[in-house]
Structures are given as structure tokens and as C-alpha cells.
Amino acid sequence: MTAARPKAGASGFDQLFSGKEGDGLRVKTGIIELDEMLRGGFMPGDAVMLAGSAGTGKTTLALQYLVNGVKQGEPGIYVTFEELPDQIYRDAKNFGWDLRKLEEEDKFRVVCTSPSLLLESGEDSLLDDVLRDIQPRRLVIDSLSHLEMFVKKDDMRMEAYRVVRYLKTRGVSSVLLWESPQISGGSFSVTDVGLSFLVDCIVALKPVEIESSLRKALVILKMRGSDHDKRFREFEITPTGIKIESAFSNYEGIISGSPRKVGSEKFMDLFRGASEKRK
């Protein structure tokens, strides 16, 4: 984003005069192929759910989004309930991202806390100080699933709504990680507590078994107010971060986790097999 924009943590009043709404700007993830899928990037101020089962690359993608944000002059905050920051610093360094250095430059913060504290209501919110200190444009919560341990299932939607509204009011674009083992079958059920409706965009990461090897697929399930790529795209976690490849064009049933080749491709395989036998 290059044009004038509201200061991070700024009030809704400031944003009202910032020209944010409908100015056509996007929050670029910095992953070129993903930005193309998103038709330029996420919508400013949107709450994005990044859903996937363990080991699919949610944390890597989220960190890459924040680090690329810093490169574009947008400070970021990573809120973790799970890993201690020292593990995050170490893992990020393996991708070439020096988070400690970014912290020293006041462009980045890793906040490690308990979900119950994030949910505490009072005059001060847990994030008030850090929002004021570094004026972030982007924030990641790793993960929203942890809130489930501290609130009743019926209250989960309301509490998540409160967190999303808190960030939106301050003009912060958020990525909320969600442990979602059940993105399968025909239901497209991302969460069983109705959170899909609260967020503006859902990006799902999914392991897929193809020819006895485990590959990874990324799909944008929802993006409010924007067109987006509807295809499943293969991605890899490389030494420099997430790299998105081509679409799984010759397979169907990717969402089930056990895709099969489409009919025409099966026919071609048979044809190829038969002609090889003749030789």
C-alpha cells in the first residue's frame, strides 16, 4: 500500500477521513501468486481466517504476511497463545526473517499471552499498549482456536466477534489462525462454532494425498466484496517461505483429501498405457 492511509491503532474517526473505504487499495501478502488469487491482496481492515490442520503451514504463511508487511512499511504484531516467542524467532530465522531485529526497530512485536487475558474486559485491553507503541497495520492471532478452551461453545462466536471488532475499530487488518481438521467432505465446514460468518475472508490450507505422497493445497473459500481465484492451488514450504504453484487442474475431490484424476485424464492414462504396450 503506497497511498496515504490511517495510522495504525487510529480511531474510527481518523479512518473516516482517511479515504480507506473503497479506495481500491489492497493489503498485499507479498506472496505474488497469493496476491493474484486475491485480485491484489486482502481488503484493508478485513478479518481473514487462515484455516488448516496442524502442519499445513499456517504459522509460516502468517509470519510471511507480517514480515512482507514490514517491508512495505506496515508494522505488524504476532499474538501467540501456543508457542513461546523464542521458538517463533528461531523458526522465522530459518526462513531468513530476523524478527528480533524488526522488534529492535519497533516495526514488529511478538506478544505471548494467555487467551483468557485477551478476553478480559475492562478499561484496558491487553493489546492497548503494544498497539500504541508500534502502530501496527497488520496483526496475526495464533490461534483463535485456543479461545475455545476458555469460553463456552455458545459464547465463542460472541467473544471472537469482540476480538474482530476491537481490531477493525482500530483499522488493523487481522489474520486469525484456526485449527481446522474438518475441512473435508462436501460441507466446507471450517469451524463448528459459526465463525465463518464473522470473518471477511477465509483461506484454507489442506494436506492432500496424491499418488502416495502428501502435498499441500490452498484455496480461498470466501472473500467479501471481491472476486477471487476459486481454484485449489498447490503450495510448498520452501527455505524462503510459502511458494504457491499451479492449480490441481487434472484432479477432482481435492477437498476430500483423497483426490482422483478427472475422467478425461484417466482415459489419457489408459491410452498412454495401451500405446506403450504396443511398442
Partner: protein, 98 residues
């Protein structure tokens, strides 16, 4: 407070040392005393007086969030104290060489 006094306060006990390592490795940690104690594998009773010492020194800060009191590292104060300790250690070494 002199560099040597700061140093002896910082390293006054094993638990205090554990707390300092935890907060230096994880400067973004914000938690209750109970939560902090769990993270270093100690009980709240063992940790509470040590946290109080670090609060008095200014390395840690305290804040009320709803019904909970949380503690966190004061990065600016921590840097300042570390500089004092580093300066003190330089003096000690020079003294030793003499």
C-alpha cells in the same frame, strides 16, 4: 542504584535468574504471576516474591487487565539496567587487570 547493586539484585536467586532468562528470550510475554510461574516450571508461591523484586527494580511492569494483574518486561528500563551492569562489569575487569 549502582551497577553492582543492580547485578546482585538481578542474580539474587535462582528463580529470579529463571525469570530473567524467560523474559529476555520472550520479551513480548504478558502473563499473570501464576502463568509466568507455570512457564518456568515453578509454583506461584515460589515466584511471587521474586517477581516483586523485579518489579521494584523496574525490569518488570505490572498492569491490571480486567480482573487480572499481569506482568511484562519493560524493554526500555531493561536496556537501561543492562547498560549499567555492562559498564560496571567493564570497570571490574579494568580493576582486575590493574
Amino acid at each position: 542504584m549502582s551497577g553492582s547493586e543492580i547485578l546482585s539484585t538481578l542474580l539474587g536467586s535462582e528463580v529470579r535468574g529463571d525469570l530473567l532468562v524467560l523474559f529476555h528470550r520472550n520479551p513480548g510475554l504478558i502473563d499473570t504471576v501464576d502463568g509466568v510461574a507455570r512457564r518456568i516450571g515453578r509454583t506461584t508461591i515460589a515466584v511471587i516474591s521474586e517477581v516483586r523484586e523485579l518489579l521494584m527494580l523496574g525490569v518488570l511492569k505490572q498492569k491490571r487487565i480486567g480482573a487480572s494483574e499481569v506482568v511484562f518486561l519493560d524493554r526500555a528500563k531493561d536496556r537501561e539496567l543492562l547498560e549499567s551492569v555492562a559498564n560496571h562489569l567493564k570497570t571490574v575487569r579494568i580493576g582486575g587487570e590493574k
